[in-house]
């Protein structure tokens, strides 16, 4: 009888699940008809989801937008960064899907038909003329749903992040470094000088894999932004095995072995490293503008920033961008809000919150602050068309892979060739 009962239970539960998990059909085709520009005149309520970091600015932007269009209400909610990324797809498929959602990366949102193509709105509003092409490229998705850089636009940028090199001006001056290094060789000799003077040359926290920035910056400064972006965007036939990346991996290993990096870099996370840098530990520090406020508060006038040295200015950067949910019932109103994101009011709010505005002219930092340096670097990178998306976003799992692989490289558990192969193999699982 016991066996009978168990069999019965198994049979019942098997019946309950005997169909393919998930939706059985491919996502519904996207609507393609004509679209309306400008905010609609009737009463509309939209919901917007974001993360606290990006949301600080967007709340102010919403307020400015609502002041202009009193008939449109935008309800704002936020979730912390990790949880947000992990739950976004589920919330976009749910019945309570938000109208407008922050995208930190494209992921599978396009493949699964969760967000709406903005091609029609882009044309109607002329976004392709408003933004430099590299600023929109990372939100263009090809028909396969995973190759980035060309195809329909799926999100509109609100503000930009930028990864470059922070430095401690006081310590640098003591070492006789008065201007930011102009070449990789200059940068290396500055690191050597710092080491000789008993300073920590390059602050780094790699518990979450941020050494990947160093490899990417060295790599793209030699390979050129355009070539580097091909790999980041997943173009067929691209390879991580380039002269630049090989040099990047080799330099990271050399620097670890020469003691240019903290000994326990693998055990310290990014915020730990930021804290140490603001406490005067380290002459240089590779990080993004999102930590500008903390570093500026800590080091005051001693905080400086420059784009990674190279023949042309290149930087790792991405935009916080907002997409319209495929389930939204008021896409026209949502698009009107997305168009507002590059307005002078919105740009000013984004800059206040630490993001680079689409239009560098909208950034008016106080002179002689780290923000002024960052804006200068941002302008230079845009002039040279040198912005490349994060290698960490090249595939869904690339961040985990880069974390483990850079830890192994720094820890002397692998060599540059092994590192390059591991990264390329991971990439090929998605884009190969």
């Amino acid at each position: 009888m016991k066996i009978d009962k168990m069999l019965a239970i198994v049979a019942v539960s098997a019946l309950a699940v005997a169909c393919a998990p998930g939706s059985s059909e491919a996502p519904a085709a996207q609507p393609t008809g004509p679209v309306r520009t400008g905010a609609p005149a009737e009463k509309v309520t939209l919901s917007l989801v974001s993360t606290p970091e990006s949301g600080a600015a967007i709340k102010a932007v919403i307020a400015a937008f609502q002041a202009k269009h009193p008939n449109i209400t935008i309800n704002y909610t936020d979730t912390n960064y990790d949880d947000y990324n992990k739950s976004l797809n589920l919330s976009l498929t749910s019945d309570q899907a938000p109208d407008i959602a922050l995208l930190n990366s494209v992921g599978t949102t396009v493949k699964d038909g969760l967000v709406r193509s903005l091609a029609a709105y882009e044309k109607a509003y002329g976004w392709d003329k408003t933004y430099p092409s590299t600023q929109l490229a990372q939100w263009r998705v090809a028909a396969d749903g995973s190759t980035l850089g060309s195809g329909d636009l799926y999100a509109a940028p609100a503000g930009f992040s930028l990864v470059g090199v922070y430095y401690n001006k006081a310590k640098a001056a003591k070492l006789g470094i008065t201007a930011p290094p102009a070449t990789l060789a200059d940068f290396e000799s500055a690191l050597a000088k710092a080491k000789a003077a008993g300073e920590l040359p390059l602050q780094l926290g790699n518990a979450q894999g941020h050494a990947a920035f160093t490899v990417q910056l060295i790599g793209q400064s030699q390979d050129g932004a355009e070539n580097a972006a091909k790999w980041t965007f997943g173009h067929k036939g691209a390879s991580f095995d380039t002269a630049g990346n090989r040099s990047g991996a080799q330099k990271l290993l050399d620097w670890a072995q020469k003691g240019y990096l903290p000994k326990d870099a693998n055990g310290v996370d990014l915020q730990g490293a930021v804290t140490k840098f603001t406490q005067g530990e380290g002459v240089f520090f590779i990080d993004g503008n999102w930590d500008a406020a903390k570093i500026g508060d800590g080091l005051k006038a001693e905080a400086g920033f420059f784009a990674f040295p190279g023949a042309k200015a290149t930087a790792i950067g991405t935009s916080v961008a907002y997409a319209i949910s495929a389930k939204s019932e008021s896409p026209d109103a949502a698009a009107a809000f997305l168009d507002f994101l590059h307005s002078p009011e919105a740009s000013a709010e984004e800059f206040k919150a630490g993001f680079m505005p689409a239009d560098p002219a909208a950034a008016e930092p106080e002179t002689d602050t780290v923000m002024a340096d960052i804006v200068a670097a941002w302008t230079k990178v845009n002039t040279d068309d040198g912005l490349v998306g994060f290698n960490n976003n090249a595939t869904a799992t690339m961040n985990d892979k880069l974390t483990a692989a850079t830890q192994e490289l720094i820890g002397g558990k692998s060599d540059p060739a092994g590192f390059i192969t591991a990264i390329q193999d991971e990439w090929a699982k998605t884009h190969g």
């Binding site: 539960s13 699940v17 998930g22 797809n89 518990a207 055990g267 869904a396 483990a404």
Partner: protein, 298 residues
Amino acid sequence: MADTAVLPARRVGRETAAPPRRRRRGRLTPLLYVLPALIFYAAFVIVPWVHSLWISLWEWNGIGVATWAGLANYIEVFTDSALRSSLVHAFGFIVFYSVLPIGIGLVLAALVAATPWKAMPLIRTILFLPQILPLVAVGVIWKWIYSADGPLGLDSSWLGDFALAYPAVGLVGTWVSTGLCFLLLLSGIGKIEPSLYEAAKVEGCGPIREFWHVTVPGLRKEIAVAATVTIIAALASFDVVYVMTGGGPGYTTMVPGVQIYQLVFTAGRVGAACALATVLSLLTCAVMYGLNRLTRER
């Protein structure tokens, strides 16, 4: 451990004279008693488990269209070196989560039982404290302790060191489990016949022989319970590793729990995650079966 509802022993023979209808009802009545528990157990344990078995046969990102994968996910679990090594790490944790705590707990319990102290309630509380802390908090605390600016005054963080990270994380498991094992074993010692100890003394046993020949055999059941609970904790470990190292440096502390989480939420590979989870649960069951055989009273 929720499935220990036992059918009452049938009174065979006494009801042989009763009419068939009554006997039938008599047989079904006990079932009625376990029905509520059974419904919950089926709804929240058995059905989800079978469902995850089913999903493990598909390649599915949790949202989109699923494609049939057959046993491909299982083949991957056993051939992918990263997945396999995470299983090895989990079994290695048994040393830290079970063997060490039971060993330490045995010695402590024997010492405390032999010399009753006034401060006993305080000692018990302190030793048991790690058990009642949320494991996430435990992870955060120990991450700080092992860091270069922690109270140990370490030269550099142990969690970033390829050789030290694994034992460092494992020792947190020891710290958490020891209190539980100690209390379980201490209460067990109280139930051992005092005459056995007296007999041992008469026979001229020293404290060490007394420990091996009276205390340890007398605690067989308690040791089995402690081993069951802590081995399951070792194999299913997630919180502490996730908070402290996320599986790093490299993959030195990667365990199936973290891997399953990453497969679902980062890689979007729900099928592969379910396959790994199924393999882990089957291995856990196998270990529990072996443990039961070992500790069963002869």
